[in-house]
């Protein structure tokens, strides 16, 4: 049996984030390799730490599902070209940010009508009831934190 990779805790992630300077935002692709995923869910924790002060993995923008041994899949926004969420948004709050090649929700424009949440065929846009906002993966503005902390290389960010 192979040893489980050592995974950092929330405090360690927060510490690393505060000491390392952020890479300048840029375009890139977050490559997901499910066969490498161990469903350690460090990505969920990293995402929760990186997004806001609440740090709740329950509202993480990435989710790692496990269907048994070596059957693990991390799921996150696919940044669709013709995205259903952006198409249904009545106030055009979801737009494609060319700078970082990601769909972003402008929460100051959003009116919380919730149409985008069930509209996404992949379920990658959700409501955060605590802050009353819509949350989705924004590739951390061009430097995904989940990929930085993935211990097995299931998530790798490749700058374009």
């Amino acid at each position: 049996m192979s040893a489980t990779p050592k995974t950092p805790d929330a405090a360690a992630i927060a510490r690393t984030l505060s000491t390392t300077s952020a890479r300048p935002p840029g375009r890139g692709v977050l490559v997901v390799t499910p066969s490498r995923c161990t469903a350690c869910r460090t990505c969920e924790l990293a995402c929760a730490v990186a997004h806001g002060e609440h740090m709740r993995p329950a509202r993480s923008r990435i989710r790692a599902y496990s269907f048994g041994e070596n059957k693990n899949v991390p799921v996150l926004c696919l940044q669709c070209e013709d995205a259903a969420c952006a198409r249904v948004c009545p106030v055009e709050a979801i737009t494609f940010d060319e700078r970082i090649a990601a769909l972003r929700v402008d929460t100051t424009v959003c009116v919380m009508c919730m149409v985008c949440v069930p509209a996404c065929p992949f379920g990658n846009i959700a409501e955060d009831p605590t802050t009353s906002t819509i949350v989705k993966c924004d590739l951390c503005g061009g430097n995904p934190i989940c990929a930085q902390f993935c211990p097995t290389g299931a998530l790798v960010f490749e700058p374009a």
């Binding site: 499910p34 949440v117 509209a119 379920g123």
Partner: protein, 259 residues
């Protein structure tokens, strides 16, 4: 064509896009300007009269000052802006006193008024017969957002203190789809939305919800799904599954096809 111009805000130069809302520029600078009726999904309107600033325009004598709402004042070259001046504070106090008299039970108005030195005691001493039930400040944001959403279900009726939002003759609005955008943007949260027997009740109407085909969680109303599907040119089946269940399903399908 957007043109960048430099304006002077409280003595500091600020670069902004010509024609942009002055309030947006000031807020982006981290300046605390109170505002209630402004929403970024809409054109500026200037209903609440709280985002006051003093301005001096190009060609004016340096001592000239005009007091104006910043939300619907466009950025222009040669503009000098003064925020939080004595004159602004005085006018803000008057507006907040009237607003607090209008909606004395609104916690948001109370908090905002308190921050600018207006207390409920001042208002009680000055006005008789305060309407202690009312929360609406008659800003019309609900009707404006309804129009933006494409429904035109509600509008404001009457004028001045009787400018009430709603449908004609206070009847349930036939064009309403129950999206609750009006209630979500309302600055004083005065539009009630309730869930009764799994149905959303708003504007005296009941709306059946689209329930997730797997877990029965509901986000939007059936009429909302119908309207948005038609507008976006998507099939209504897009709204049948909730985010959680869709995500699990997509993970399962990934497993089948990729690994």
């Amino acid at each position: 064509m957007t043109r960048q111009v430099t304006i002077i805000v409280d003595g500091r130069p600020v670069v902004a896009v010509e024609g942009e809302s002055l309030l947006e520029v000031l807020l982006a600078q981290g300046i605390d300007i109170p505002h209630l009726c402004h929403h970024r999904a809409l054109e500026p309107y200037g209903a609440c009269r709280l985002c006051l600033v003093e301005v001096n325009r190009k060609g004016w004598k340096p001592q000239w000052r005009k007091i104006t709402t910043s939300c619907n004042f466009p950025v222009m070259s040669g503009l000098t802006v003064y925020t939080g001046t004595e004159r602004v504070k005085k006018h803000l106090k008057t507006t907040l006193t009237l607003m607090l008299a209008e909606a004395p039970m609104s916690s948001r108005i109370r908090e905002l008024a308190g921050r600018h030195g207006v207390t409920i005691e001042d208002v009680e001493a000055r006005f008789e017969d305060l309407d202690r039930e009312n929360l609406c400040i008659r800003c019309g944001l609900c009707a404006r957002i309804c129009e933006r959403m494409g429904h035109y279900a509600i509008a404001t009726m009457g004028r001045g203190g009787r400018r009430n939002p709603g449908a004609p003759l206070d009847q349930p609005p036939p064009d309403c789809v129950g999206c609750a955008a009006c209630a979500n943007v309302c600055p004083t949260r005065c539009i009630p939305v309730t869930m009764v027997d799994g149905k959303r009740v708003i504007w005296k109407r009941e709306f059946a919800m689209v329930q997730c085909s797997v877990c029965h969680k509901a986000y939007i109303t059936e009429e909302q799904a119908m309207f948005e599907a038609r507008r976006a040119g998507l099939d209504e089946s897009y709204f049948e599954t909730c985010d959680e269940c869709s995500r699990r399903e997509i993970a399962r399908r990934f497993l089948e096809h990729v690994i």
